[in-house]
């Protein structure tokens, strides 16, 4: 884990001092809301439906026990005892008061955390693979590069007023666990002829106009990464449309200008940028890399793990679903589900955060990750320790064995909290999960990703859900459109709309019909929902959605 230098600490203290003074000036009336709003957004402070919301950055989703405990402390001291982990691997507090925000930011700074650039038209939190450092298939740990980009992009004077927000993800494997191709820029660490470098993808995104990123450069040498990114950002900063919020993302710039022309412009800009980099960034990268050493994992006897599996079917089922093979065969990567059936996806209580911090300290080499799917990860746990970890998680309501299953739903806060939402997301997720639990079918159904957004901005990633749900306001009533065939993995695909939407009380039964139809249609348990959809196309699923509904209606 990267530790702040004296420079970082001083920078953050000064920034927090400035924002404290800005809050005071807003309260005493010196600043109007129009003046204050851009300042508060730069510091992660939103005003939502019922209250302020503070969005705290969790760079590339990495936490340690001290940071997690401080997040728990904030939840109890200044919020209502819980926090909400987001699809950008950040954490949001839903109920802070304006006067308390400066104290919250100071408390975050005490553990090397902040809320800078979690909002506004800037480069947002850099995301990465939540299995970084533990995954068997990675070329190297992608987080040092993510940290380098974080440092470069934080308060970068040229990129504080971009046409629109800008999101960057870094991965280091063929498998994409970070939805890289749905980012404004995706960086994939690759190796060519024994040399490490970067494949650069551009123009992915969700929102109103979903697009899959295109490859702009197949190999950027290590020392050229930051100048190349800067050349892209500078090109976008100049070309990006500022006349229309919905056409301002770089995906539209790429679409309207054309990939080849953008590439030429970037290549023309690159040499100017490159000369400004003396190599100090590479020295920094070396220093950062030294802070991300995978812990020394001593060989462990996995026999107790096998014994526990044989003795406890609940433990075995949880391990099968929530534990991923580690690069060290006698260790596992534990994903902790924040998706208990009927709970709010991504919410964790202060107590749960502390339990995770304790487990990370005791069994997990002090390493915790937040995933874009709104779960937590202990990336390095010895198999022999899994029974104890499972027992502790169970007592904290954190042992739901549903990772990758249909109730492991991504849902944005929706109209229960968000001022931009057009419909609710959370109760739809709760309804689907509860229904799956009643039917006891989700282990039979297998891998199925359902993703729900409460408006067209698509924070809930519905475009890339195997089943995507988009909540809209249709003539003053909540209405939910369904898309099928989206894919968030390395074979990224945008889902296709099934047809007319469903009312709030119809959407859970509609999803149930889809899932039951899949069980009827699949060639066998090995064929996933997405594979069955790819083989069969829309027709049989559409029939299950609409013909059955028509039949049920006729029978009434």
């Amino acid at each position: 884990m990267y530790q702040y230098t004296d420079f970082d600490t001083a920078f953050l203290a000064e920034r927090n001092r400035q924002f404290r003074a800005q809050v005071e000036r807003r309260i005493d009336g010196t600043l109007t809301e129009d003046e204050f709003k851009p300042l508060r957004l730069m510091n992660g402070l939103y005003l939502q439906l019922h209250a302020y919301m503070l969005r705290v950055a969790v760079p590339y989703g990495s936490l340690d026990p001290a940071k997690m405990r401080q997040l728990a402390y904030l939840a109890e001291r200044w919020d209502k005892g819980y926090g909400h982990f987001t699809t950008r691997t950040n954490i949001q507090y839903n109920w802070p008061k304006l006067r308390d925000i400066p104290d919250m930011l100071d408390a975050l700074a005490d553990v090397g955390m902040h809320a800078i650039q979690t909002s506004g038209n800037t480069i947002r939190n850099i995301t990465s693979d939540h299995f970084a450092g533990a995954a068997a298939d990675e070329i190297e740990d992608p987080r040092p590069v993510a940290e380098l980009i974080r440092q470069w992009s934080t308060d970068h004077p040229e990129f504080q007023f971009l046409p629109r927000k800008f999101k960057i993800a870094v991965i280091a494997s063929e498998s994409d666990r970070a939805v890289m191709k749905s980012h404004d820029i995706g960086v994939r660490i690759v190796e060519r002829d024994g040399t490490r470098g970067y494949e650069i993808w551009i123009g992915g995104g969700m929102g109103r106009t979903p697009m899959v990123a295109k490859q702009i450069k197949d190999f950027v040498p290590r020392a050229d990464l930051l100048p190349y990114l800067e050349a892209i950002l500078a090109t976008y900063n100049r070309l990006g449309r500022r006349d229309n919020k919905y056409k301002a993302r770089v995906k539209i710039t790429v679409h309207e200008t054309g990939l080849d022309e953008i590439r030429e412009l970037v290549e023309a800009e690159f040499p100017h940028r490159r000369t400004a980099f003396s190599g100090v960034d590479q020295e920094w990268l070396d220093r950062i890399e030294a802070a991300f050493v995978t812990p020394t994992l001593t060989a462990q006897d996995p026999a107790p793990y096998q014994t526990a599996r044989a003795a406890d079917p609940v433990f075995a089922a949880w391990a099968d679903t929530n534990v991923t093979p580690h690069k060290h065969a006698d260790h596992g990567i534990v994903t902790i589900s924040l998706k208990a059936h009927g709970a709010t996806p991504g919410d964790a209580s202060a107590h749960q955060m502390r339990v995770v911090a304790d487990l990370a300290e005791q069994y997990g080499h002090g390493d915790i990750r937040v995933t874009h799917a709104q779960n937590l990860v202990l990336p390095h746990v010895a198999l022999t320790d899994l029974p104890a970890v499972h027992a502790a998680l169970r007592s904290a309501g954190l042992a739901t064995g549903n990772i990758g299953l249909a109730s492991d739903i991504i849902a944005c806060p929706g109209m229960d909290y968000c001022a931009l939402a057009t419909a609710r997301s959370i109760p739809v997720a709760q309804g689907i999960a509860n229904r799956l639990e009643e039917l006891k079918i989700e282990h039979d159904v297998g891998h199925l990703q359902i993703k729900i957004s409460g408006c067209i901005n698509a924070c809930g990633h519905h475009h890339v859900g195997h089943i995507g749900i988009l909540g809209l306001d249709r003539a003053g009533v909540e209405n939910y459109q369904i898309t099928l065939g989206g894919d968030a993995s390395e074979s990224t695909a945008i889902g296709t709309r099934t047809g007319p939407g469903f009312a709030y009380d119809e959407i859970v039964p509609a999803i149930e019909r889809l899932i039951l139809a899949y069980l009827d249609l699949r060639e066998g348990p090995d064929e996933t929902f997405l594979q069955a959809y790819t083989r069969l196309g829309m027709a049989p699923f559409k029939s299950a959605l609409y013909d059955d509904k028509a039949r049920a209606h006729a029978a009434e």
Binding site: R26, I27, G29, T32, E33, L47, Q48, L49, H50, A51, Y52, K80, N94, W95, P96, K97, L98, R99, T344, M415, D416, Y417, R424, I426, P427, Q430, D473, G476, V477, E478
Partner: protein, 103 residues
Amino acid sequence: MPREFTPKVITANALLEGDVVYLTSSDTWSRSLAEAEVLTEESDAQYRLLQAQARSAEVVGAYLADVRPGPSGPEPAHFREDFRLTGPSNRFHGKQADGLETP
């Protein structure tokens, strides 16, 4: 013929607390929709909104929200205002928990 004017209230979020408030006829901000001044004429509504928006030291984002008459005062005409009046549906927080949900 001009469309009939839907009755409105002025609502905003309080500057310090961030919670939902409504403008009363005595120019105070109330946490309860039942106490809100119901505006039935467009010109009056626009005038009162300008007055409300000028009070930026007290509230943020004042706007006009449609209401319809109910047994104990105005009721939200749109579901978004229902949620603002009640609180989130996944947790017992917000106005519903503060005993301020009305009517």
